[in-house]
Amino acid sequence: MKLVFDKGSPGRTGSSLPKMDVPDESRIPQSLRRSTKAELPEASELDVIRHFLLLSRKNFGLDTHFYPLGSCTMKYNPKFHERIAALPGFTLLHPLLPQLRRGGALTQGALEVIYETERLLSNLLGFKQFTMQPLAGAHGELTGVMLIAAHHKAAGETGRKVMLIPDSAHGTNPASAAVAGFETKEIPTDEKGNTDITALKASLDNSVAGIMLTCPNTLGLYDQNTREACNLVHEAGGLAYCDGANLNAIIGRVRPGDLGFDVMHINLHKTFSSPHGGGGPGAGPVGVADKLVPYLPISRVAKRSDGTYALEYNHDNTIGYIAPFYGNFSIILRTYAYLLTLGREGIPRISENAVLSANYVRQKLKNHFDDASRERTCMHECVFSAARQARNNVHAIDIAKALIEKGIHPPTIYFPLIVKEALMIEPTETESRETLDHFIEAMIEIAELAEENPEKFKSFPSTTPVGRLDETAAARNLDIANLAGQQ
């Protein structure tokens, strides 16, 4: 399909701008002006709209396709959230307004949204306080490990440089720890799918800053050693971090703060139903236990005794500003709407239904694919291995492409890294049993085809706008921008 730059024709315009109603005397000297105009599209509004609507139709989205992408919690995004987020009372609000004198009084509605969402999350997850600032999950991780660093620094324990991370962790965990200046050390997973306690004990000394555990872990299992691991790390002087990417499995049922975690990030675009946006924007608020509250980023939203809301800046031990303002506000707003709608009776139904659906899929598929759940009841996602199919040269990627052929978005593949040929399936609570059955049927057909006609997989997908693309050649012959003759 043509690029948007190739639509329209020279001189055509789609913009409708106010007329110049002041003297048109530019003060910008010629020496500071660019030599030629930026080569942007010259297209009518219709040209542009048609281009993007046709592009959108080349996507699988959650609204059009079942999307059981493991670890990503692709649940339905309620439509009224989009309407709320588009209200001018929120969208037109300049973030610096409350920093002007008397400006706080003019942003009470927005500050209330942030404060009340923060309180709900703290209660729900068992933490003293949340910062709503982190702009994505990995940004939350970075914030969390920076809080751990600040804690050790304040205690004079500057030698604590090692962050322990299980071998099943998301890649963002070690990457975030590295960005915060930590070294990372890998902790193995035991044969039951829990943190290997013997290996953990052997790794604990006074160089350890903390441990980052995902709860439940990326095998989709509830780590039965969580409390013990937190205790052991605490005894060694470290802190325990919870990666909340999989919170959908336990929301309303287990409070991570009660398990001994000191700090946790959550993904509002996963558990709390804000849209994934094709890869963001998300939001990654971070909750902390008492001892980390002093280090939380500024500004913080506080509620005064008269019921009004205000921004606070004076916290001597804060790590500072991790975002320019108060977080991805419109994502926080959607989360608030979601929590208010579900309420105390609805929230536990999320995890119950998510876990039931994953186990249902697991039960129906476990005779067809190798079960990587270590013979255990899984949580919100089930992990299989395509090792059996791989013997016929049908790999996880081939199974993914066969699913695309059938109009289903594939699960996460090749993750976690400790499972060979991993297929990580997360159905979520918003999908119906008939959708699950349709998926199960498709997976069984694929397993059968892998036995009967493995060659067939090489032709998948054939129903999409393009077939399998040569990624190796793409990386070798890099073309990442059309420069219109520039440079």
């Binding site: 002041v22 699988f60 500003y321 991805n328 049993r433």
Partner: protein, 444 residues
């Protein structure tokens, strides 16, 4: 129960399949022994209608009726409705990271087009798929320079937005990075001192364009001086201004970042926004974040994939170029849709309107006789005025008159208590500007 499809009958059948008599039994089998927590502090659920009514009320408690002259890096521009129409397509907004290219050609082509548009605007040859915001993008640019030069000192101009500098200080606090901040001149950077601060340990020099005072200056010479020490020149730029200004690429910068909010994103009380990043070709493989690239299938059909993924955290883990995973993809789509809708000539028109209205506003304020403005300030759409007394007091009084008058610089620069930073966009009319000047005259 909203958003949960299954009925009690479905659940009963499914529980039977998994061999459990109840949900509680399922929890137990999964290894959860703890009692369910009391959720007394969480209010009971509400209907959609009730939540909408409540949030409408909260929205109305925000004073968005002020005539806005507040900018400081985040600007109140016109956004064509078509931009929202495009980003509201749920095929775009309910998808996730395009790891499966055949099922994501819409997102991937849009990223490629976005990267191309950012290159064309900044005058650079390569761009990534987005960072979180202008501040995180500038920090990532600094770290890119640190990796590329294997040096650990960064020189940063005091004319870089104090908001961005606060963020960079915060992120650098645990890293072995020496941050050398160079105080600005009166209303611009101090190029002489910046050049003097660059030594053989310097990885990069961080600049902003237009700067935190709204000033535009040719930075080509400083870029040359930076290069003479084998350091990299980094520029955080305001993308609307780049429609008319000499591009960072033309000035020789190695890395260009910026806050992309002004490209079709509402102010939204602080986010979501968009960090953009563009680099010279030799830095491309060290760049953080996702990158879309062109690829071909077996029958020669053209498509797009995420490329150079070996730089990223899901492959390289602790050795990745950044920890970023989710970025601001839908905001990047907003930027592309905005740039496509206003188009080549429209974007220049927007920029010319901003610049002319800002110049007019400054003249009108000077005419009151109560406001001083630095005579030699070259600016785009934001400028500094010196008020006779504390600017934050006056901004407070202007709120009562219905104006967000600008940003009092004393909040971040202790020696600038009386200075107000005023931004004017194409939204402001002649009448609004005139009454702004009148109101200012009245409160001074």
């Amino acid at each position: 129960m909203p958003y949960i499809a299954n009925t009690d009958a479905d659940r009963a059948e499914m529980l039977k399949t998994v061999g459990c008599g109840s949900i509680e039994e399922l929890w137990k089998k999964a290894g959860i022994e703890e009692p369910a927590p009391a959720l007394d502090e969480i209010p009971p659920g509400l209907s959609e209608f009730e939540v909408v009514s409540y949030l409408f009320k909260l929205a109305s408690r925000n004073a968005t009726g002020l005539v806005n002259f507040l900018g400081c890096g985040y600007y109140d521009h016109i956004i064509p409705a078509a931009v929202f129409e495009i980003t509201s397509r749920s095929e775009f907004y309910t998808a996730y990271t395009p790891y499966q290219p055949e099922a994501s050609q819409g997102t991937l082509q849009a990223i490629y087009e976005y990267q191309s548009a950012i290159c064309r605007l900044t005058g650079m040859p390569a761009a990534n798929a987005s960072m979180y915001d202008g501040g995180t993008a500038l920090f990532e640019a600094m770290m890119l320079a640190v990796r590329a030069t294997r040096r650990r000192k960064a020189v940063i101009s005091g004319s870089v937005s104090p908001i961005l500098r606060e963020m960079i200080r915060c992120y650098s606090s645990n890293l072995k990075i020496e941050l050398k901040e160079v105080s600005p001149g009166d209303f611009c950077s101090n190029q002489k001192e910046l050049a003097a601060a660059i030594d053989d340990e310097t990885a990069c020099v961080l600049m902003q364009y237009p700067d935190a005072f709204g000033t535009i200056e040719d930075l080509s010479m400083l870029v040359e001086q930076t290069h003479s020490k084998n350091a990299l020149a980094v520029c955080s730029a305001y993308p609307i201004a780049l429609a008319v200004l000499k591009t960072p690429g033309e000035m020789g910068f190695d890395i260009v970042t910026g806050e992309g909010q002004s490209l079709g994103m509402p102010l939204n009380f602080g986010g979501p926004y968009l960090g953009f990043m563009a680099v010279q070709r030799q830095l491309l493989r060290k760049m953080p974040g996702r990158i879309a690239g062109k690829a071909f299938d077996a029958s020669g059909r053209e498509g797009f994939v995420l490329t150079l993924q070996a730089r990223e955290q899901h492959i390289r883990r602790a050795g990745a170029t950044s920890n970023i995973c989710s970025n601001e993809n839908l905001c990047a789509l907003s930027a592309l849709a905005y740039l496509s809708c206003v188009g080549k000539n429209g974007l220049v028109e927007v920029a010319e309107l901003c610049a002319a209205k800002a110049a007019f506003a400054r003249e009108e304020l000077i005419k009151t006789g109560k406001v001083k403005a630095p005579e030699d300030q070259q600016f785009f759409n934001e400028f500094v005025v010196e008020l006779p007394s504390d600017a934050s007091e006056i901004a407070g009084k202007m709120i009562d008159k219905g104006f967000a008058a600008g940003f009092p610089l004393g909040r971040y620069y202790k020696d600038r208590k009386n200075q107000l930073l005023i931004a004017v966009t194409e939204k402001r009319t002649r009448e609004e500007i005139k009454s702004f000047a009148n109101a200012m005259e009245a409160v001074l």
